[in-house]
Every structure is written in structure tokens, then in C-alpha cells.
Symmetry: C2
């Protein structure tokens, strides 16, 4: 039984005993939706980050961990088309970690991101842990009643869009696994520089990346992994303008997350590989190392971009940029129950091969 089988089982057990008629969406989406008594719905997400599994302590400066703990939950709220407001943080650590400056740096990174989006740390819990650091990040947000964008609303014929670029976070993880380290002071605390407005990306998505050193690309990719930018602005716009029929954030990887969306919507998808926006630093480094950037983009997780579907009649209303972040149209929802991808003149079946906890072996 893998992670998703287990979640499905819990979902069935919960549905068989549903008590609260105000649960609009329970287990089985990026976040849960509860009807408030007024004209809004409450959105709730929880994300558990465990040392050695979800982050590597030595490669993760505390300030970036504080950033990431909040960022992953903000991304879930964004993927529901909601506006985040309140954060709760449960954190366990050893006495040794407690006694050093970890806490202060962690919360410096946390508050910098919280301030950026007007999110208030509203509660939480602290415990000792005999082993590593463990963090549960809970964020609450809101949408107008009925406006939450679920995974289940995609219809055949809808266009499929992505914010930003893919592959950077997975490449960053590979670099960390090979021993790459953040340079001192690089991006710890303070406001993040959006990749889309960094000098790197200002060069555009062309292949003319000749000036940039490998070192610069490596640092940029480490930040894509360690300091993801949740697409909060896009989430709010898509929710308020009711532009998306379904949405999910890319935490496990495009192939797996698209699979979740298709499964919940009971549809298929046809993706055009040439239109998938690849991270330019990934292309830069992969080009020199004969790696396949498309594989990273398809199956690498943690880019925390938004994947969403749009009724073609609303496509002209989509903004070009939100907070400087562009979108790309990568394919179309089909009514067949499978996902296909075209590459040059071939079409092949896209299997979900992204990250999962407790993956079934064999």
C-alpha cells in the first residue's frame, strides 16, 4: 500500500461516516474546504516536513527551511484559488538544536515570507524530539463561497496551463545529493528574488545562455529547491476571477500531479512536450552533462508551480503575468482516461513517475 492508496482508504472511511455537512471537500485535494457561516469558504492545508526525508539538514540553512515550511503550504492554498491569511506551526527538535541559533534563523526566514503575503502566525505547538527536526505547517485561507478550485473540475476540451518553469527544484535536489552547497549568505532571510525577475531569467527562455557560469546556475537551482516561490498571486487571481476549472500544485512532479488531477476529474490529457517550459539553468547544465531536462520537468517534484485547466472560452481573460510570473499552455484535457504526450512526431503514454512516500516496490 503506497501513500496514495492509504489516503484513498482513509477517504472512504471518512466518507462512510461524514458528520459535518459543512465539509465541501475533505481528504483528496491539495487542501480541504469548509463552509463558513458567512459567504466564504475556509481552506485548510497541512504539510509535514521530516528531517532526512523531506529535507537534508546539512544542505538546508535554517532560514531557508523556515521559508520552505511556509511556502509549501502557501502553494497548496494557492492551488485552491484561495487567499492565505493564517499560519500555525508545530515544530519538534532536539535540545541541542533548541539551544543553538536554529530557531531564530528559522523564524527569520518564515516571517520574511509570511510578511510578503500578509500571513499571520496565529498558533502552533513545540515539542522536544529525540531525533531530527520535524515541522508541521498548517495554513488557513479563504475564498468566496463555492469558488474553491478543486482537482476534480476539469472537462474534456479544457486547456492545460502551467505557471513558471519546471525542473529546477529537482535539479537542485540532485545537486544537493551530489554535495553542492549554498554559498554563504546567499538568499538566507530577507525578501526572495523571484526567478522570473532575476538576471538569469531576464535573458528570456531562449537558448542563448552563454554568459552565465555553471556556478551561478548551480546556486540558482539550489534556491529553486531550497527556497521555492509559492504562486500566491496566481492562485488569488484564478480564484477571484473564476478562471480555472481545476488546479493542483506541482509538488510530486508534473506526471504525477497531472495524473491526480485527471483521476479526480475522470478525464485524460494530451501534453505537447515542446511547450513544457523548462528551467533555463536546467537546460544550461543538462546540455553540458547529457542529462534529459524533459525527464526532470516531467517527473521531478517540488517546483511548486500551479497546474490548472481553463475552459477555452475563458482563455482570453487569462492575464499574461501575475507578480512577474508567466504561464504556458502545455496541452489539452481529453475524455480518454489516459495521459499522452507528444514529442516530435511520436505520441507516447505518460505514466505518473513523480515522488511518493512509501512507494510500492517491484
Amino acid at each position: 500500500m503506497n501513500e496514495f492508496d492509504f489516503i484513498d482508504q482513509l477517504r472512504r472511511q471518512t466518507q462512510s461516516r461524514k458528520h459535518s455537512t459543512r465539509v465541501i471537500k475533505g481528504i483528496g485535494d491539495d487542501a480541504s474546504v469548509i463552509a463558513e457561516v458567512g459567504n466564504r469558504d475556509l481552506i485548510v492545508t497541512t504539510d509535514l516536513l521530516v528531517e532526512e526525508i523531506d529535507f537534508i539538514r546539512n544542505a538546508t540553512p535554517p532560514g531557508l527551511l523556515g521559508h520552505k515550511a511556509l511556502a509549501v503550504s502557501l502553494s497548496d492554498i494557492a492551488s485552491m484559488g484561495a487567499r492565505p491569511s493564517w499560519s500555525f506551526l508545530s515544530i519538534g527538535m532536539s535540545r541541542e538544536t533548541w539551544d543553538n541559533k536554529f530557531k531564530d534563523e528559522f523564524f527569520e526566514g518564515f516571517f520574511a515570507l509570511a510578511d510578503q503575503f500578509g500571513v499571520t502566525l496565529t498558533g502552533g505547538d513545540v515539542s522536544e524530539s529525540k531525533q531530527g527536526i520535524v515541522i508541521d505547517s498548517v495554513v488557513l485561507g479563504e475564498v468566496a463561497s463555492g469558488a474553491a478550485i478543486l482537482r476534480s473540475g476539469a472537462q474534456p476540451g479544457d486547456q492545460i496551463y502551467l505557471t513558471g518553469t519546471l525542473g529546477g527544484a529537482a535539479a537542485g535536489l540532485k545537486l544537493i545529493e551530489k554535495g553542492a552547497q549554498m554559498k554563504q549568505e546567499s538568499g538566507v532571510g530577507g525578501r526572495e528574488s523571484e526567478p522570473s525577475t532575476s538576471p538569469t531569467v531576464r535573458q528570456g527562455l531562449s537558448d542563448r545562455v552563454t554568459e552565465k557560469s555553471d556556478d551561478d546556475s548551480i546556486q540558482t537551482l539550489l534556491l529553486r529547491q531550497l527556497r521555492p516561490s509559492p504562486r500566491v498571486g496566481w492562485g488569488i487571481v484564478l480564484g477571484e476571477e473564476r478562471l480555472a476549472t481545476a488546479m493542483i500544485d506541482l509538488s510530486d512532479g508534473l506526471s504525477s500531479d497531472l495524473y491526480h488531477l485527471c483521476k479526480e476529474s475522470d478525464v485524460g490529457a494530451l501534453i505537447d512536450s515542446a511547450s513544457i517550459p523548462l528551467d533555463e539553468d536546467v537546460r544550461h547544465l543538462c546540455g553540458r552533462r547529457a542529462l534529459d531536462p524533459l525527464a526532470l520537468a516531467l517527473h521531478g517534484g517540488e517546483d511548486f508551480e500551479l497546474l490548472f485547466t481553463v475552459d477555452p472560452k475563458n482563455a482570453s481573460r487569462l492575464p499574461k503575468l501575475v507578480d512577474g510570473v508567466p504561464i504556458s499552455r502545455i496541452g489539452e484535457i481529453t475524455d480518454a482516461g489516459i495521459m499522452n504526450i507528444t514529442e516530435k512526431n511520436r505520441t507516447w503514454k505518460l505514466e505518473p513517475r513523480g515522488f511518493e512516500h512509501f512507494k510500492n516496490e517491484g
Copy 2:
């Protein structure tokens, strides 16, 4: 810096940057209070349970751990005078634990308690953990606007009350530390038997406990530790009838939790030791072992009873029993900033000596 110093520091950092005007109570109470857009307030609590720190794996059957994970959060919601509705559970465990029957038994115990109070499992997260089990339990509840009972509302002259009896959970923990084990099948899953309606307690709180064997007392005390009964009914009644001026649940121990309440209310307290309701199994076993049941009642944690204060003019409106659980009046709020306790003809200063994570040494 101990747990409470750190929480105070975070609270100041949060207040200096408060974004959401809808946060009625943030860090620094049993749970947080957020104004909904309708005529209700949302109550949110999170509780982190870490193996080896907050529970001992070998002494805790999975079903009872599932019960306790929810119970501690229900107790926090009750202590705000709120009605619990929605639960979120983040859980990390090793692959070995994942692959055995732990999950099923854990959720059997969890759902039995959730069903008892009409609480819906609405979301959560799952992660692998290289080390022990870690659980973050989040519960959301509601009260009428402005009706949440904070720690900070006690006034000099208010009467101090307690639900149930004290010392049982701490005695149970001592027994576990000495190697006592639950008997097979004892209380795992299914509805709990309230201590107050068990044969033991039906004998009343007199000293005439002569029939009961030490073995029976030990099993009862283990359950007080492993399967606490959150006082959900009392919380709802006190909140709906607006009977309590301040409230806290007894998780750290009476001396510490009363201290938190007094500190937040800027008041003192005078407790009458003779009126503290001692667990009768604790008295039974302590009597034979020359231990001091009063010390367990004052400083032992995890009884998850409610400690609350009442304006004397409302005292006559207090129910005698809710869900079979009685209350005891144990003292009075004073305006001096210290806590005193009378014992026979002496009065001495009551110091907070309950549980805290990362206790300052020396």
C-alpha cells in the same frame, strides 16, 4: 530559554507585525481564535506528539495513541468553550511501521473518539520518518462570536473550579515508567468507559475503597494516561451558557496551568488543598506506597480536566454534572500576583512545577 519563554518571544514578534485584523487571539492560549465572516468565531488548535517524548511506543497500543492524538486537541477546543467539528492529522512513521498493522489500529482508536463527538477527519498529510512516529493533531471548532473563553478573563473574587479528578494520568505515567503494561484488549478501540461511570468511581470519592485490587487500580490509571477523556461536553456548556470567565485544560499540571491562567489574567489564586479532587485509584495505591497523591495532583500533567473560573453571581447556574462528570470548587482568584495554597492550618506559595519542554536547568 524554556518552551514558554520561546512562545512568549514568538508572540511578541507576531504582535509587532500583526496583519490579520480578524485574529481575536493568536499565540498564548490553548487554541487560537479567528473571526469568521458570519456570527461565529473559528477555534484552531495544534498538538505535536513525538515518540519517546510525548508517548512511549512500547507502552502505548496504536488504538490508544489514535485516541490520545485526537483527545489532546479536543481538550484544547473544550478549554475555549467551543464545539469541535473538524480534524486534520499529519503523521510520519518509518516504512516498517507503515507496513505493519499500526495504521489500521491507530485510526480505529482515532475514529472511535471522533465518532463519539461528531468530529470529521477533513484532511492531513503523511510522510516517511527515518526515526520514530510523529503526529500533529489539528482540530477546528466554533463558538458564537465573542464567546471563546480565554485564559485571560479571570477577575479577583471569581471562584475556581475543576472537572473530574486529578493525579490519575501522572500516576499512570509513573506506572508505565516502572514497566506496567495494559492488559490485552483492555480498552483498545470502541467507546471509552468514562471513569466517572466505571464501577470504581461509582463507589464515590469516599475513602472506603477496600474491595478493589491493586491490579484493577493499575489498569485504571494506565487508561487515565493512555486514554484521556476530553471534557468536550463541559466545554460546550460553559461556552454556550457563558458561565466561565477564564479556562485552561490541565495538560502540564494544575500548578503550571493555574499559573498560566493567573499570568494571562494578571491575578493570583488561593487554593484549598482539601478541596482538590484526587483520583481515588491514586489514593488507593499511594496509601499503600507512602507516596503523596497531592503532589501528583498539583504537578502531574495530562489529566486533561478543565480548570475554569466563574463569577460568584453565576455559580448557581453551573450544572452539577455534564456527561456524568462532576466539578469541584477548589479556590478563589485573588488580586495578588501569586498563587497560594492552604493545607490544614498552613498557607504556602504554590510554584508552577508541572511539565515543560526544554526546561531550564539549574
